[in-house]
């Protein structure tokens, strides 16, 4: 039963990673920028959730606020930070992005304290269900359910609607998409809006799971998310989904078998490097030279 528990933990972490990373991989697909500050969006979402939830007494309202605020922030980051830097080498916007992450993390610390903020009324984190001997936390179920809804929604949006198809077209062939009348700049804004909302959702859920939102909440997730999108083949949503779930599992079981040699993050990156040496283009990416 212990191993099944680990599997559930790995799966829920994988679902969380997937929601966080999908925005990141799409930003890369569109702009070829490693959007490190996505972690700040994640943290902003977590803070918005906990602050509004505590003020209003409703966790649902907290999530609503997070999903409403972060898209605006994401779009502002694109307009003010990335757009003027698009013609420079990819490491230039990336360093700017790291600067923004440092700034935001410290801003959260100054505004809301080093210790972080806890939910005043969080019955979800302490509610567990017993499914045939396997203990599952209510928030873990919520994470998995959210991920399923989000990815089915994304799939339908990008295959069934005109706007969604234009989005996919822009990610894979921007020039041809333009000649078919797709407004590339609008697609970029939409991309940042949707990606940020999903990261915020993931951030709020992690805050709920740990019952704590502190300034470092985005830190490790951010670099792991970079590993995930690389494993997924940079720019591929399907690849990112697979890589997220795989990484959640590898971490979960890896800590049991390799915990005495390496910590959790190192295991994740070991898996990344090992896989990249075998498949330099990631799980699903096609080899481009």
């Amino acid at each position: 039963m212990y191993y099944i528990d680990l599997g559930v933990t790995g799966l829920s972490f994988g679902c969380m990673y997937a929601m966080m990373a999908v925005g990141l991989t799409l930003v890369y697909g569109l702009l070829r920028i490693l959007h490190v500050a996505h972690a700040a969006v994640f943290a902003l979402g977590a803070y918005a959730t906990v602050l509004v939830a505590n003020a209003s007494g409703s966790v649902g309202l907290g999530f609503l606020a997070a999903v409403a605020v972060t898209p605006l922030f994401g779009m502002a980051v694109y307009r003010l930070l990335y757009e003027p830097l698009l013609n420079y080498r990819a490491d230039v916007p990336m360093i700017a992005s790291v600067g923004l992450l440092v700034l935001m993390q410290d801003a959260f610390r100054i505004a809301f304290g080093e210790q972080g903020v806890t939910f005043r009324n969080n019955r979800f984190a302490f509610t567990t269900f017993d499914l045939a001997g396997v203990r599952v936390n209510a928030v873990q179920i919520a994470i998995m359910a959210c991920a399923v809804v989000v990815f089915i929604g994304l799939h339908l949006f990008t295959t069934r609607t005109r706007v969604g198809i234009g989005w996919r077209a822009t990610v894979s062939r921007p020039k041809i998409a333009t000649s078919f009348g797709v407004d590339v700049v609008k697609v970029r804004y939409m991309n940042f809006a949707i990606g940020s909302a999903l990261a915020a959702l993931a951030g709020g859920l992690v805050g709920l799971l740990d019952n704590l939102v502190d300034p470092m909440i985005g830190y490790v997730v951010s670099y792991k998310a970079l590993a995930i999108i690389v494993l997924g083949g940079l720019g591929s949503v399907r690849g990112t989904l697979i890589a997220s779930l795989a990484l959640g599992m590898v971490e979960s079981y890896g800590t049991i078998f390799m915990g005495q040699w390496l910590n959790r993050d190192a295991i994740a990156f070991l898996a990344l490097i090992a896989l990249l040496m075998i498949r330099p283009q990631g799980f699903t990416g096609t080899r481009t030279v």
């Binding site: 003027p84 080498r89 490491d91 600067g99 923004l100 935001m104 100054i110």
Partner: protein, 282 residues
């Protein structure tokens, strides 16, 4: 000179060594590395262990250099397989792997690090002079490489690997050379650091340091040795200069990083070049 000045100058010297050596890999040869801290750390640990075992300063610095270079060559081989952003993330992984590994090893001091490393026998001012001499040598090597045939080959690989191949440049060999030289210098800096502090922990060599070094390269102007030196000195002094904002240091630092890149995306070297051009025109 106060003890504070001596230690500040030592840190500046070390950061110049690290930024200039990273510039050889990422600037000259175009191989983005976000794991430079790992090579620095490997050099520091190798030097510390050698010093404890042998008590020879020269041998310790040599071992630091060798271990840094060996690890660098391993990552260099990875750079032959993965390109650009894939390489950037691989090197991030190398950094996390290094700190994660060291933290769990009791023979490397684990979380506590290695303390009580025997001193180099010099005073702290003597240590500083040693660091500054090596920093000056690193800068000299960087200028020399930049003007040599090897520097030309590095730039060719950086700009267009396929075109470089048609000129008969073996891009793989030059990438390995860039990684080997750059990481050897980082390892040497690590050895110097071990003598400077006589106490090392994994936290010193974390990913944040690697990002800081990359920020020095980018702000200095990718590929420009002089620009990178200026940026390394400035970015080391900056946190000291804004000490008066004390509690808001990281906030101000992050903000300035964003601001500088927004104003001068091509780095200080590019900014200086443009200012000079304007002078010439006027």
């Amino acid at each position: 000179m106060s003890a504070y000045d001596v230690s500040l100058l030592s840190v500046i010297g070390l950061n110049v060594m690290l930024a200039v050596s990273l510039n050889m890999i990422s600037g000259f040869c175009g191989q983005v590395s976000l794991g430079h801290g790992a090579f620095y750390g490997a050099g520091a640990y190798a030097a510390a262990l050698t010093m404890i075992a042998s008590a020879s300063v020269a041998l310790s610095l040599f071992m630091g250099t060798i271990v840094g270079a060996l690890l660098g060559l391993v990552v260099g081989f990875a750079s032959l397989r993965v390109r650009s952003d894939f390489l950037a993330v691989t090197t991030i992984g190398v950094n996390f792997l290094f700190t994660g590994f060291v933290r769990k090893q009791s023979w490397l001091g684990g979380e506590m690090g290695i303390s009580g490393i025997p001193g180099s026998g010099f005073s702290s001012a003597g240590n500083m002079v040693m660091i500054l001499i090596f920093a000056a040598l690193t800068i000299a090597v960087s200028f020399y490489i930049s003007r040599s045939w090897m520097g030309f080959a590095f730039r060719a690989v950086s700009q267009d690997e396929d075109a470089a191949a048609t000129l008969g440049i073996n891009s793989g060999a030059y990438k390995l050379a860039a990684f080997g030289i750059g990481t050897a210098l980082a390892g040497l800096a690590g050895g110097l650091y071990a003598f400077f502090t006589q106490f090392i922990t994994a936290d010193t060599f974390d990913f944040i340091l690697s990002v800081m070094l990359m920020a020095m390269v980018v702000i200095g102007g990718i590929g420009s040795t002089a620009g990178v030196v200026v940026a390394a000195v400035a970015l080391t002094l900056l946190p000291e200069a804004i000490r008066f904002v004390n509690d808001y240091r990281l906030l101000v630092f992050g903000g300035l990083l964003v601001l500088v890149i927004r104003i001068a995306p091509g780095g200080l070297a590019d900014l200086a070049r443009r200012l000079l051009m304007r002078e010439a025109k006027a």
